[in-house]
Amino acid sequence: MSYSKKVLDLFNKPRNAGKMKDYDGIGKVGNPVCGDVMWLYIKVKDEVIKDITFETFGCIAALASSSIITDMVKGRSIDDALKIVKEDVLNELDGLPPVKVHCSVLSVDALQEAIYNYLSKNNKTISESLEKKHQELEIERKQVEEKYKDWVQKEEELHEE
């Protein structure tokens, strides 16, 4: 598979990687059965994303997508961050191979979920579109859980270890 130099650089030297303690919001998307798990942690102050880190189990494209999105939103307002679409991620990465485009989608989903998590924990207003996105991801997650029920618990076990 052929990746842009940008993707390979980010894969080789990911930025903002690692777990965050005392985060304000967390977005967990993907599943190891299909190949990628992405967790984004955000720290928010005055509705601005002050800090953001990621943990990803995934391929080169998934790691690069998670890394780039942390750089794209750090220091930006939540409203700005919610405007990011997969095309923005793809542009920043100088593109991804067609079969890997879903990795950029995953990073946007993770960001939206992290923001959703922050907003709902703090009883803040959640826009209709963000709520809709969250519900869609929930349905998807349940479908995967149903299809691979024996194995999904395994993800939690592995995380605990």
Partner: protein
């Protein structure tokens, strides 16, 4: 210097095989069907190669038909047997761990009125349930010999005993020159897995097997497979089959590799074939490992879903009991006689660093 550890995928051409080919890419360009000297030289070279392949398989030359490779050999064997024996029955038995060139041929045959049984394997990767699957309509059993992902070698003698008069085909591309291939009635092999050139393979067809011609035309390959012969490729294939495959060296290297790998993950089977190692490294995605090693000039393969267009986990690894999460954390290392201990040590050192780095950023 790069380190090539993906010999189950393809191999480096042996300089001796390459040297044997060169005249037929230069001055000896005759068509083997021509009756003058230039043509006869090509014809003779093909027959020498045929003898070399036959000797290696311990069969007779007229039982070997050259093809364009393993995929064609599998298509040739299964489709030709199926249609040539249709009045005897329409049932074919294969397994869930076959190469795509067997599985997808069988899937296509299902659309042509054939019924296919896909057998599973036990925890050691050996086929189970053959006896019960045979019906009076069964005309062919097609089972891979040495497995490309986890290295199990099927017991063809036992399988043939169960088959009785039913034809047994085996895809032996991965095991040719590394393990004896006996008892099957039809055998697929190719050159590029044994340090020969790409684009050439062969099908062994035991005398008396009822099989129609595969490719119509000028009647080449004993009227089984027409088309002007790939003379240089065939010559390279024949030469490659005569070379010492140094199985003991490969096996020693593998055992050494495995003792090191066991410290960072779980080795899956990897016993029978001398060159195949499958290892699951928990909490890290396979393609990320392959990509990281690539940056250091080390080439290995992955069985992970993320590497395929379908995003479905590798069926063969699921068949031996790995769960999809483990499949996505599995890499395959396949050795050759050109690898050495220094390369293994270097790979382990790099791998240890990569595993630590990727685990640090994994949520699992």
């Amino acid at each position: 210097m790069s380190i090539y550890l993906d010999n189950g995928s393809t191999t480096k051409i042996d300089p001796k095989a390459l040297r044997a080919m060169i005249p037929f890419l230069k001055d000896e360009y005759g068509n083997a069907s021509s009756i003058y000297k230039l043509g006869l030289n090509a014809k003779n070279a093909i027959e020498v190669a045929r003898k070399q392949i036959a000797n290696k398989l311990e069969v007779s030359s007229d039982e070997i038909a050259f093809t364009s490779g393993g995929t064609e050999s599998n298509n040739f064997a299964i489709k030709s047997i199926a249609f040539s024996n249709r009045e005897k029955g329409n049932h074919i038995i294969t397994t869930k761990i076959e190469h795509k060139s067997v599985i997808n041929v069988c899937k296509w045959l299902e659309t042509q009125g054939f019924e296919i049984t896909y057998l599973g394997v036990d925890e050691n990767g050996y086929v189970k349930g053959l006896k019960d699957a045979i019906t009076d309509k069964t005309i062919l059993v097609s089972i891979v010999h040495g497995h490309n992902e986890f290295g199990a070698i099927q017991n063809l003698k036992e399988i043939k005993d169960i088959c009785g008069d039913i034809y047994l085909h085996t895809d032996a591309c991965q095991s040719f020159t590394k393990s004896d291939i006996k008892y099957a009635d039809i055998v697929s092999i190719n050159a590029h897995k044994i340090h020969g050139p790409k684009g050439v393979g062969a099908l062994y067809i035991k005398k008396g097997v009822r099989i129609d011609e595969w490719q119509q035309g000028g009647g080449h390959e004993n009227r089984m497979r027409s088309g002007t012969e790939n003379v240089a490729g065939i010559v390279g294939f024949g030469k490659a089959a005569t070379l010492d495959s140094k199985i003991e060296h490969i096996r020693e290297l593998k055992d050494y590799f495995i003792t090191k790998l066991e410290k960072m993950g779980r080795v899956n089977l990897s016993k029978d074939l001398p060159h195949v190692i499958s290892v699951t490294i928990p909490k890290i995605e396979g393609e990320a490992i392959v990509g990281s090693l690539d940056m250091e000039g080390i080439y290995v393969a992955t069985g992970s879903a993320c590497n395929s267009n379908t995003l479905e986990p590798n069926q063969s690894l699921l068949s031996i009991g790995l769960n999809p999460i483990e499949v996505n954390s599995t890499i395959r290392i396949t050795l050759s006689r050109f690898n050495n201990k220094k390369e293994v040590d270097k790979t382990i050192k790099v791998l240890e660093r990569i595993v630590k780095k990727l685990r640090d950023i994994s949520p699992l």
